[in-house]
């Protein structure tokens, strides 16, 4: 079995707001193996982005604070590193692609300049070497006449092209881990298909591990090997992708799959929504965060918060109920 490349244990992140403390991430643990693609699924506010930002030390503090947890990357705890130390890892060994390519590129610098920066900083290339490598990277992600486009500014690129630039930038130092935070959510489906095709190709060529954050179960089904489902600041289910879709064990996962219409479904069936709304995390949940929306909920669900436990090989779930029998585990 390959070693864990990234090992997150008991991560907790909170935000101080004028209305009180928001408990965004409440004890998240997961591992990432070398070359593996992990999908992280959840709705807005479930803590999926905050988890990754915390790991990379990108939480603005104040108002945010990582209050507990460890994040080991090849034996070093990223959370204990100084700003200077983590800067050598971020962008070089672990890099990130953000959701909105317009706000994450600097509008007043040329794309070439932005691509060269990490190469000069992390790899120690000279200006000319970096320029050459930047052009290579742009053509790697499928941007035509790459050399000329280095002098263009971000606004001269379309949305899909900008996201390609972001990916090129993230790949520039050949990272071991690529964290992608909803990189295709803002794009049209045909462009999304282009980007996903590109990422799959690059993954096979470069052999990097990927954490792909999304709310789209369809994207996860096509890309990930393992999936973690998040709700209310917790991972509530984790399984291999085939197992998750075939035997979802958490009522939330089941609800999420049931509420989706499918392009390949034959007859119009009625959608089964999850009633209610996602929780607002002004309190650290003491009971199961999904209990108010759960059709299976029993008394225990309102009193104790279940922790993630193994139900079958490689399949973990945080639920008091075995949904197959409807009885307590």
């Amino acid at each position: 079995m390959p070693e864990l490349l990234l090992d997150i244990k008991g991560l907790e992140t909170q935000f101080k707001t004028p209305d009180g403390i928001v408990y965004a991430v409440n004890g998240v643990s997961f591992g990432l193996k070398e070359g593996e693609t992990l999908g992280v699924v959840g709705e807005s506010g479930c803590g999926k982005s905050v988890t990754m930002l915390s790991v990379l030390g990108l939480i603005a503090s104040p108002p945010g604070k990582v209050v507990a947890g460890e994040a080991y990357y090849v034996g070093q705890d990223l959370l204990k590193m100084s700003k200077e130390e983590i800067r050598h890892i971020r962008g070089a060994q672990i890099s990130m692609v953000f959701q909105d390519p317009m706000t994450s590129l600097n509008p007043v610098l040329t794309v070439g300049r932005q691509l060269e920066e990490p190469l000069m900083l992390h790899v120690g290339m000279s200006k000319n070497q970096a320029r050459e490598r930047a052009a290579e990277l742009l053509s790697l992600v499928g941007i035509p006449s790459a050399k000329d486009r280095l002098n263009d500014y971000p606004h001269q690129f379309s949305g899909g092209m900008r996201q390609r630039v972001m990916i090129a930038m993230a790949l520039s130092c050949s990272p071991q881990i690529l964290i992608a935070d909803e990189p295709t959510t803002a794009l049209d489906v045909t462009i999304q298909a282009q980007i996903m095709d590109l990422v799959k190709r690059l993954r096979d060529e470069l052999g990097m591990a990927i954490i792909w954050i999304t709310h789209d179960l369809g994207v996860v089904a096509g890309l990930a090997q393992r999936v973690a489902v998040m709700y209310g600041g917790y991972i509530i289910e984790e399984a291999l992708v085939g197992d998750l879709f075939a035997n979802p064990a958490h009522p939330y996962t089941i609800g999420l799959i049931g509420s989706l219409p499918r392009l390949d479904e034959k007859k119009g069936r009625k959608l089964q929504p999850i009633e209610g709304v996602p929780p607002v995390l002004f309190e650290k949940p003491k009971s199961c965060p999904f209990a108010p929306r759960c059709t299976w909920a029993v008394e225990r669900c309102w009193k104790e918060n279940p922790s993630l436990s193994v139900v079958s090989e490689g399949h973990k779930v945080a639920c008091w109920i075995d949904v197959k029998t409807g009885r307590a585990r």
């Binding site: 489906v189 298909a193 509420s259 392009l263 999850i274």
Partner: protein, 330 residues
């Protein structure tokens, strides 16, 4: 085929060009060809899905039908009247019968008005009710969209996205319209909430015999809710057909690529799924390509595609397509 009576709305050659002005004397230097000649019928009681990628003109089409923009050319026949030639006052009366649900439930509700004022405003503006009667109707409308009537004194910021969209639906229903343009009503909502709103829209359609023009970019949701579907690309409709016909045998290369690009939430189906990956981006609607709009990205484009604009023709009964070579897919 349907008789003339079944047709609620007949759109013919609708164009909406937005002028571009430059220089100090603001001379017109060009136009954005947002909608460039679309024709279709909407049948009474049906849901017509209008899909396409961002910037293809689907929202502009919806808005031009409701005369929220003044269309550049074309006719929109609704109950025997051409909406485009109606006078302001006549149009105001007509608007009672046609309403809109907007995409962004955070931007489409006035934050300084209470829910009661928002939902009741159409009644007051159109002189249909006043005073206590408005309150009663508002309470009833909120019940219809499954919100607690006691919420009417609260403000929009107190509600979640899904609840706000319900408020928008209640406002659209206030004047008892027969036709509603739903402009991406669910795309700003979380996945688990989307299904709630879609189910509500379906129930209301049955209850009040509503006709929907459902604009969306989520093809799986459009398939779920629509009877017929029109696919738009760069200002024109490239294909229009019954739901199952379109999804089973798409006849336009763009529809084929669009459908194949949608990820399926099933790893097994996904691994066997063959995808058509389009090259490049959508061209600018300021200078659309000559001939067929899609030819710059089309996998089967030939010389003829640049020379003549393909006719929007009925290749099979009820299945319209605008492509020179659709016969090979039929």
């Amino acid at each position: 085929m349907s008789s003339e009576n079944d047709i609620l709305l007949k759109i013919d050659g609708l164009k909406m060009h937005f002028p571009i002005f430059r220089g100090i004397i603001r001379r017109q230097v060009g136009a954005v060809h947002a909608v460039d000649g679309v024709s279709f019928d909407v049948r009474r009681g049906e849901t017509l899905g209008l899909v396409g990628e961002s910037g293809c003109g689907k929202s502009t089409t919806g808005r031009s039908i409701l005369q929220l923009y003044k269309p550049t050319a074309g006719t929109v026949m609704f109950e025997g009247a051409n909406l485009i030639s109606l006078k302001t006052e006549e149009m105001r009366l007509m608007r009672r019968k046609m309403q809109m649900i907007f995409q962004d439930p955070y931007a489409s509700l006035n934050p300084r008005m209470t829910v009661g004022e928002i939902v009741g405003e159409p009644l007051v503006v159109h002189n249909i009710a006043r005073g206590r009667e408005v309150d009663e109707r508002v309470a009833h409308l909120l019940e219809i969209v499954k919100l607690n009537p006691s919420f009417s004194s609260r403000y929009p910021h107190e509600f979640s996205g899904g609840q706000r969209q319900r408020i928008g639906v209640a406002r659209a229903l206030a004047l008892q319209p027969s036709f509603i343009v739903c402009d991406e009503p669910i795309s700003a909502l979380d996945v688990s909430i989307q299904a709630q709103v879609v189910n509500l829209l379906e129930e209301l359609q049955e209850q009040f015999n509503l006709t929907y023009l459902f604009i969306a970019h989520d093809l799986s949701m459009v398939r779920h809710i629509s009877n017929r579907i029109a696919v738009m690309y760069l200002g024109v409709i490239v294909e229009l057909a019954d739901r199952d016909a379109l999804y089973d045998t798409p006849l336009h290369p763009y529809s084929q690529a669009l459908l194949s690009a949608v990820p399926i939430p099933d790893p097994f189906a996904e691994s066997k799924h063959k995808r058509v990956i389009l090259q490049g981006d959508v061209p600018s609607p300021v200078n659309p390509p000559s001939g067929c709009r899609f030819r710059t990205r089309c996998p089967i484009a030939e010389k003829a595609c640049a020379e003549s604009r393909p006719e929007f023709r009925e290749l099979k009964p009820g299945h319209f397509v605008a492509c020179h070579f659709s016969e090979r897919f039929a």
